[in-house]
């Protein structure tokens, strides 16, 4: 077991299901035999504000917050929030992002515009970038609401955790009737 700690950042908009995704990640890491810590701010998350969850795993984890500029993987649920969070990543870090645009209030009001070509900008800074159409793949898997699980599958491929741990984590965290569909959505993401 390596002594180093792996740092994952999950970012998006309040209400997108980021907390559940970070719970599944943490569960899988614990099942994989690692120490895990996670931290997030959820006081106002339901009100559509920016949300960031930090998950860290390794032999022994101290800080629950990822040290600035030391993120290994940025797991973005929304394009603007993904781009906004790039400074948290280390040089050469990995980005897995959902191809989804949720306009913030100032854009809804027509006062500012949603930044253009975020895909190109992210790729220019972080070549290890995977763009996932989570909504489309989740619809193929049976439910658009499983978009997070598709993304989780795509992230899982970049982590050294046995597949059985992921399955057990999903079994624990996802309601039974939605389990098979979520496992399929996870596979689609993992096979990307």
């Amino acid at each position: 077991m390596s002594n180093s700690v792996t740092n994952i950042l999950l970012v998006g908009v309040g209400g997108q299901g980021i907390l559940l995704a970070s719970e599944i990640l943490s569960e899988a890491f614990m099942l994989g035999g690692f120490d895990v810590k996670k931290s997030e701010i959820h006081g106002m998350s339901q009100r559509g504000g920016s949300v960031a969850s930090h998950v860290r795993y390794g032999k022994e984890v101290f800080s629950p917050i990822v040290p600035e500029g030391e993120g290994d993987i940025l797991f973005g649920f929304e394009m603007l929030e993904t781009y906004r969070s790039l400074p948290l990543l280390k040089k050469g870090g990995t980005v897995v992002a959902n191809d989804l645009r949720i306009p913030p209030p100032s854009v809804l009001l027509g006062q500012e515009t949603y930044p253009e070509d975020l895909t190109g900008k992210i790729e220019a800074l972080f070549p290890d970038f995977t763009l996932v159409d989570g909504q489309k793949l989740a619809t193929e898997a049976g439910n658009i609401r499983a978009a997070n699980t598709v993304l989780l599958g795509a992230v899982s491929k970049r982590l050294d955790i046995p597949e059985v741990c992921w399955r057990q984590a999903l079994e624990k965290m996802v309601p039974k009737k939605a389990l098979e569909m979520n496992i399929q959505a996870f596979r689609m993401g993992r096979d990307l």
Partner: protein
């Protein structure tokens, strides 16, 4: 058995393992989930109180009856509960008593970042401070033992990163063999008349001396010797940042931050070359260490405002030119220089689509009211484009602030003053303020935004919602009758989705040279209980009729998006049918009949 638990879940588990009988509290981020998680342990009588003082007193009563009691609140809640806390310190306990104070350094969801450790010292009670979820559980258990052993209420301080952070916890079985609660009379100990209190005060001082001595050899205060060059005294969440950033430093980790084990500190100081204190917010440990004649560095380099992070801590040490203990050498600095990106549109929190507060704030803005605000979702009425809040201090302050401000204003400005307060906040401390307003005849208008829930903290029930924490039905407080009973003669109920009616009633009451109350009657869109909130049919914009006037955008609804014009044409508004809750407020603003029920 191992589980990943949040600090709040672990505190709830600790209460269960400690055999707690009664749990009370008032919701407040980041403390709210403690009571919500205690619910799963059916043997514990868990309930919401109308405010923190009441919660504290319910807990004190249970303790006097011989049962273990836990009371939970956020840091500012301790201000409300301080009155009983200070005297309970004198009487001591029956069954063990633990007060959880959850601080919010960085003010993620708070109006100030006061440091609760000062309360422990001020009230002369011990305080434990856990550094992760395992300690949250273990220290909660331990706190009950200390409470009974030293006959004192015990405070346990959490913070946002501890309460809402998760880490692995080893679970234990609950204690057994605790005495069954019985009435035991002991009035000379529990009736704090001056004569009795004068006897108790010296015992309180003795208790704190004994606790300091106990803390010097207790396992929760531990010394980790590594490099002798740098020694750090730290506690709670900051311990993790110290281990992260200064992996080779020697550390004195305090599990009990009040009283301080000064002999242990002195001993540790002797073993290291240079001594630092790393603590969030106030120089609480640092000042006491320095007062004991021990040379120490703290807030000269560590920020006093905001929370610490590994980056901020590293920066503090490197900026001061300190090397060693695993800190990066100056020449390595460039490696960590952060990536700069351009300024981006922000994403602040917003009221939900269909929120019943939106139309009220739109109307207040239109009427150019001076709005004294309060604590809740509706504090977001401050945000553009509503821009309809002018003050916000603390729970319940809106009404009394309005009552005070009208006393100094010229006649023509008095009628502009409107207080807004939510149902839960009104019952928390607003009711006292309304009594004052009625009693002294202050001519201001109060709006009670009754959405049937304590929404901001995540939909907790309250005495007006008709349900308890355990999801059992309760007799709801009748707000109209309550306002009348304290002496308000003009009480009107309005539908906040009806903009004309809301405007008419507001103008009527604002012009009235008497105290008056308006109560809105639409529930929060997030209430899941059946029959409370019912979603309306989604609205849509008819593109042919939309003139692009942007009137509908003035309510700042997240479901309405401005679509800029393609070359040479006018822009238009568009409603997202998945987000729209059908409140109908935007339709009433459209002068071109372009908004209608969904097709």
């Amino acid at each position: 058995m191992k589980e990943i638990l949040s600090g709040n879940e672990a505190i709830a588990r600790g209460a269960y393992e400690a055999g707690v009988k009664v749990a009370s509290g008032y919701p407040g981020t980041p403390s709210t989930e403690i009571l919500e998680n205690i619910l799963q342990y059916k043997k514990i009588d868990a309930s919401w109180a109308p405010n923190e003082k009441v919660a504290m007193e319910v807990g004190i009563g249970a303790s006097f009856g011989g049962g273990r009691a836990i009371v939970t609140m956020k840091h500012v809640g301790v201000n409300v509960a301080a009155d009983p806390l200070f005297t309970f310190s004198y009487t001591g306990v029956g069954g063990g008593f633990v007060l959880i104070a959850a601080d919010d350094p960085e003010m993620h969801s708070s109006q100030n970042e006061q440091d609760s450790r000062n309360y422990a010292r001020f009230a002369k009670v011990p305080m434990l401070e856990p550094a992760d979820s395992q300690e949250c559980k273990d220290f909660t258990r331990l706190a009950f033992e200390l409470s009974e052993q030293f006959d004192t209420p015990v405070m346990l301080r959490s913070c946002t990163r501890i309460s809402h952070g998760k880490s692995i916890v080893e679970l234990n079985e609950p204690v057994s063999g605790l005495p069954e609660p019985r009435l035991v009379k002991n009035p000379s100990k529990l009736v704090m008349l001056p004569g009795n209190a004068r006897v108790r005060h010296p015992l309180v001082e003795e208790r704190m001396v004994k606790l300091a001595a106990f803390g010097a050899s207790a396992p929760f205060n531990s010394v980790e010797m590594r490099d002798g060059e740098i020694g750090v005294i730290t506690a709670g969440i900051s311990y993790n940042y110290v281990r992260e950033v200064l992996p080779n430093a020697s550390v004195l980790k305090l599990g009990m931050v009040n009283p301080l084990p000064m002999e242990l500190v002195r001993d540790f100081a002797r073993k290291v070359n240079k001594l630092y204190v790393v603590e969030e917010l106030d120089p609480f440990i640092e000042e006491q260490v320095r007062a004991a004649g021990i040379a120490v560095t703290g807030k000269e380099i560590i920020p006093i405002c905001g929370e610490l992070t590994p980056g901020r801590l590293r920066n503090a040490f490197t900026t001061a030119g300190i090397v060693g203990a695993g800190l990066p050498r100056p020449e390595q600095g460039d490696e960590t220089s952060p990536l700069q990106i351009e300024k981006l549109p922000g994403r602040p929190p917003n009221m939900c689509p269909g929120c019943p507060h939106r139309g009220v704030f739109y109307t207040l803005n239109q009427l150019k009211a001076y709005v004294t605000g309060d604590i809740g979702c509706y504090t977001l009425g401050f945000m553009p484009p509503l821009n309809a809040m002018d003050t916000c201090i603390c729970m319940g302050a809106s009404i009394s602030n309005a009552s005070g401000i009208v006393r100094v204003l010229p006649e023509d400005e008095k009628k502009k003053v409107v207080a807004v307060i939510g149902d839960s906040t009104f019952l928390h401390t607003g009711i006292n303020s309304l009594m004052e307003m009625a009693y002294n005849g202050s001519p201001a208008t109060v709006i009670i935004l009754d959405n049937r829930i304590t929404a901001m903290t995540g939909r907790q029930d309250n005495p007006a919602s008709g349900w308890t924490l355990r999801d059992e039905p309760a007799v709801p407080v009748d707000l109209v009758q309550l306002c009348r009973a304290v002496g308000i003669r003009h009480v009107q109920v309005v539908d906040p989705f009806d903009l004309d009616e809301t405007r008419k009633v507001l103008m009527e009451e604002m012009n009235r040279p008497e105290p008056s109350v308006i109560i809105t009657n639409r529930p929060c869109v997030l209430v899941k209980r059946e029959g409370v909130f019912e979603k309306g049919l989604a609205l849509s914009v008819d593109e042919d009729h939309c003139s692009g006037c942007k009137a509908c955008l003035r309510i700042g609804c997240p479901a309405i998006e401005w679509q800029p014009a393609p070359e040479g044409k006018k822009g238009k508004a568009c409603i997202d049918p998945l987000l729209c809750n059908g409140c109908d407020v935007c339709r009433q603003l459209c002068k071109f009949d372009a908004i209608g029920r969904g097709k």
